[in-house]
């Protein structure tokens, strides 16, 4: 029982640090700084989902965590490749 309280409390704490991270989305200044908050969402959401899976005995939440991890990686790579890169000749070469 006490372990369940620990899991839930830490999951809640991680969600609060996520909310604090939103401040960086507001401030920027560069698009990359805003995108870093998405990276924060990747790791922190994975951790809190794993904690919730253990706390409430819902193993399926681990699959949700897996999808979060995948999407965070794809989002950041898509951001760098498609919206933040200025394509120049020497850029494509390597």
């Amino acid at each position: 029982m006490s372990m369940q309280v620990l899991y839930s409390a830490v999951a809640l704490f991680l969600l609060l640090t996520l909310v604090a991270g939103l401040w960086r989305v507001l401030r920027g200044p560069t698009p990359a700084d805003r995108m870093l908050a998405a990276q924060l969402f990747g790791t922190t959401a994975v951790a809190s989902l794993l904690l919730l899976a253990e706390a409430f005995g819902r193993p399926h939440l681990r699959d949700v965590a897996l999808v979060f991890a995948l999407l965070a990686a794809v989002t950041a790579v898509a951001f760098v490749m498609r919206t933040w890169t200025v394509w120049e000749d020497d850029d494509v070469a390597d």
Binding site: V10, L14, L36, Q39, L50
Partner: protein, 99 residues
């Protein structure tokens, strides 16, 4: 409280501290490179500690393996993303912060 539960308790608390450090770094550090440093290092250690704590409590070996694989995927992904973002930032002429 058994010994493994005690170990899980301390591992997860230590993980939470690293997550807090990562968020504080994201909010307080001066430029994109230092923020990347805070995020991709501290948060992945935090996730690793939480995963280690949870792996001790998982109901089967398959569940333990799955949790560890999720951690490895996040490690691989955020290491690649950190290098991509840092290299792109340098190419776009963002100068690393100096005192």
């Amino acid at each position: 409280m058994s010994l493994t539960e005690l170990l899980t308790f301390f591992l997860i608390l230590a993980g939470a501290v690293f997550f807090l450090a990562g968020t504080v770094g994201l909010l307080r550090f001066p430029d994109v490179f230092t923020r990347l440093h805070a995020l991709t290092k501290a948060d992945n250690v935090g996730l690793g500690l939480v995963v280690a704590g949870l792996a001790l409590q998982a109901e089967s070996w398959a569940a333990t393996g799955k949790i560890l694989l999720i951690w490895l995927l996040v490690l691989l992904a955020s290491a690649s993303v950190a290098h991509l973002v840092a290299r792109t930032a340098l190419r776009k002429g963002i100068r690393p912060w100096k005192r």
